[in-house]
Point group: C2
Chain length 407, copies 2
């Protein structure tokens, strides 16, 4: 029995008209496989509306109650969509997470999936051709409703595909695939036919909003091929999959950027053991995510530590740094919000040197000053002044020949 998992986001199920397009995709899916599992998000805007209601009711809404409240969003979308399927004569029913069940831990608001009863799902598939499943939610061992956090519907879909050994998981969205970079700032951006899990992970972490990062981790872990495509076109989209030799022949497969960056520098810290811990421990305790970190080599027993945080967390970060500067005896605290990150990503980098050098040379040639650098196995990230972001993206896209396909 061939089972296709299709996930549709909030925009795709926002209205009855939009849902008709989803209906077409499901009908088409039934031609390509024996059974379809449609995983739906809440209708666009509904989750935010429910969260606003919780905030209106309580300064600190109980997290378990909040999850049970917010989960009604998907309950509405799956029941309405199933009505359309039934009207079209398709054997279908809706399924809430507790009816399957999809079991999670008790970390309300950002629960992690522990198990999905695939036997139960398969027995539902004996009676129905389409199962319409509420994404984003699960339930604990003791039957409390949980939610998986923002973008969790992607994770639901991939996890269901994983337990069913489904051939493919299709994530429908409002763009027709994954691009080499943001087409809004680079006209030669090109839709990729395929992208490796690791590349997708790096792109997602850079704010490319096509796929939720946890769903990509899940897909990678369980080797689920994920196809990102549009509800509103027939384009085959982009296949997110395991890397192979043809992918490795490409040095760089995408350029990502992130403007939500603020840079903080602690100047002339005494370079003694435990200094870094004294700086980053308190940040971690407050749940502030630190992105790039650079520490210079010691000079006269002193060092500078520079790091970036998201802009909305800058005020709290600076407050903490003042206390830390007092404690550690740092000379000065500097900060800058007019900075942004640009990254070149590609699994092909693993086997080639010189990628970083080419990137630096290209940017320098255009007079773009490099403020910070950090590199990973498959990514080079460069912090620059924000005003150069668009230019830098276009330069790197061009430098690594992303405007044409070598597939």
């Amino acid at each position: 029995m061939k089972i296709l998992v299709q996930k549709f986001g909030g925009t795709s199920v926002a209205t009855r008209d939009a849902m008709q397009k989803v209906l077409n995709k499901v009908t088409d899916g039934l031609k390509r496989s024996d059974k379809v599992i449609a995983v739906l998000s809440a209708r666009a805007g509904e989750t935010n509306k429910l969260l606003a209601l919780a905030d209106e009711w309580s300064m600190t809404p109980d997290s378990a109650e909040c999850d049970a409240l917010v989960s009604t969003g998907e309950q509405v979308s799956i029941t309405l969509f199933t009505m359309l399927l039934k009207d079209a004569g398709i054997r279908a029913r809706s399924l809430l997470s507790w009816q399957i069940p999809i079991k999670t831990d008790s970390d309300f608001g950002r629960a992690r999936i522990r198990s999905i009863d695939s036997g139960n799902l398969r027995s539902y598939l004996e009676s129905y051709d389409v199962l319409v499943i509420a994404g984003f939610q699960g339930c604990t061992e003791d039957k409390r409703i949980t939610t998986l956090g923002r973008g969790g519907s992607d994770t639901s879909a991939v996890a269901i595909a994983a337990v069913l050994d489904s051939a493919e998981c299709e994530i429908y969205t409002d763009v027709d695939g994954v691009y080499t970079t943001d087409p809004n700032i680079c006209s030669s951006a090109r839709k990729m036919d395929r992208v490796a899990y690791d590349e997708m992970l790096e792109m997602a972490s850079m704010g490319a909003k096509v796929l939720h990062i946890r769903s990509v981790e899940f897909a990678k872990k369980y080797k689920v091929p994920v196809r990102v495509r549009s509800t509103f076109s027939d384009d085959p989209g982009t296949l997110v999959t395991q890397e192979d030799s043809s992918m490795e022949a490409v040095l760089v497969s995408g350029i990502a950027y992130d403007k939500d960056q603020a840079r903080v520098t602690l100047r002339a810290l005494p370079d003694v053991p435990g200094t870094a811990a004294a700086v980053f421990g308190p940040l971690s305790e407050k749940g502030i995510l630190v992105d790039m970190i650079v520490q210079n080599t010691s000079n006269d027993g002193h060092t500078d530590i520079t790091f970036t945080v998201s802009r909305k967390e800058l005020p709290q970060t600076l407050e903490l740094m003042h206390t830390i500067a007092d404690k550690t005896g740092a000379a000065e605290i500097l900060h800058d919000v007019n900075v942004a990150k640009v990254s070149a990503i590609g699994v092909g980098m693993r086997n080639h040197s010189g990628v970083a050098a080419r990137a630096f040379a290209a940017l320098t040639q255009e007079g773009i000053n490099i403020l910070m650098i950090s590199t990973s196995e498959i990514k080079i990230t460069i912090l620059i002044q924000e005003k150069y972001v668009e230019l830098a993206v276009r330069i790197l896209h061009d430098t690594f020949g992303l405007d044409w396909s070598i597939d």
Copy 2:
């Protein structure tokens, strides 16, 4: 362990401000008993909004999906209210029907409760002082969500009180009890301290909207004392309970009326066996509820049959009657929508004759023509012209001395 069940309707939970008053009632309940179970309806207007959504999506919304859709209304109200309880430092949690479970049959949209796991409820009460339960809903043996039909939250509350052998079930609403008649048309209407189950049943069936009729049947069957009172006052309300000798000393305890009546007469039907079945069989098949029925004694082998239906079902009724008149050879079909019912209700009637005669005499004296009469053990119903309804209610209220209490 003393457990108090309190039910709050849609108006009581409509806004955060209204819910604060509910919070006061629950806090007060905790002073009078060890534990409180609060059964909530959906916020006022929400159920209708969800049903409208279903109608927008489908001409014939799938009934199972519709129940799962509509049940989100209570899910929202119980989670929001539980947030308030937790903020007030009360050990509380929300419970959906499947988490208890409250099991019903599979008659979606008007399911009947089959069982409630009281052991599970009691074990929840070990960890929490207040359980906030979604009224109006249940789940089938195979875990599908059902709803109990309009007013079903009353039934949920009474059923929960029944399985817990709770001392009392309080139904909070926006009126402060059950009145001898509608205070809007009879200024001397008086709030009753107590009313018998059977009287309440007759009043509910006449459209006195204070309690849902099925909840009264349930309360009567399991001998659950039900107190009807207001969320917005401290009045002790009206206790609905088993009749006792003091109740039987009162001939008539209430006057009810119903304007939603249309009268249909089939003239000169051949009086042969099976005629009544030929008339009422098709009505029953179409689900049209026939209220009063009168058949005159035969005259020359012919008879007249008169009955009443609700006004919105008159067109379909007349359509059916034309077919039936053709089949049975009735001479004529008459109908009248300017009619209304007035009833005098009282368990004391059982032991006294002459109540009907007194009612007829009082109405006739004021020139009100009696169109139809039907009597039961504890009720006399009279069909009159609609324009006389208010006058008739006041006359009967006065005739049976309901403006003063003999308690």
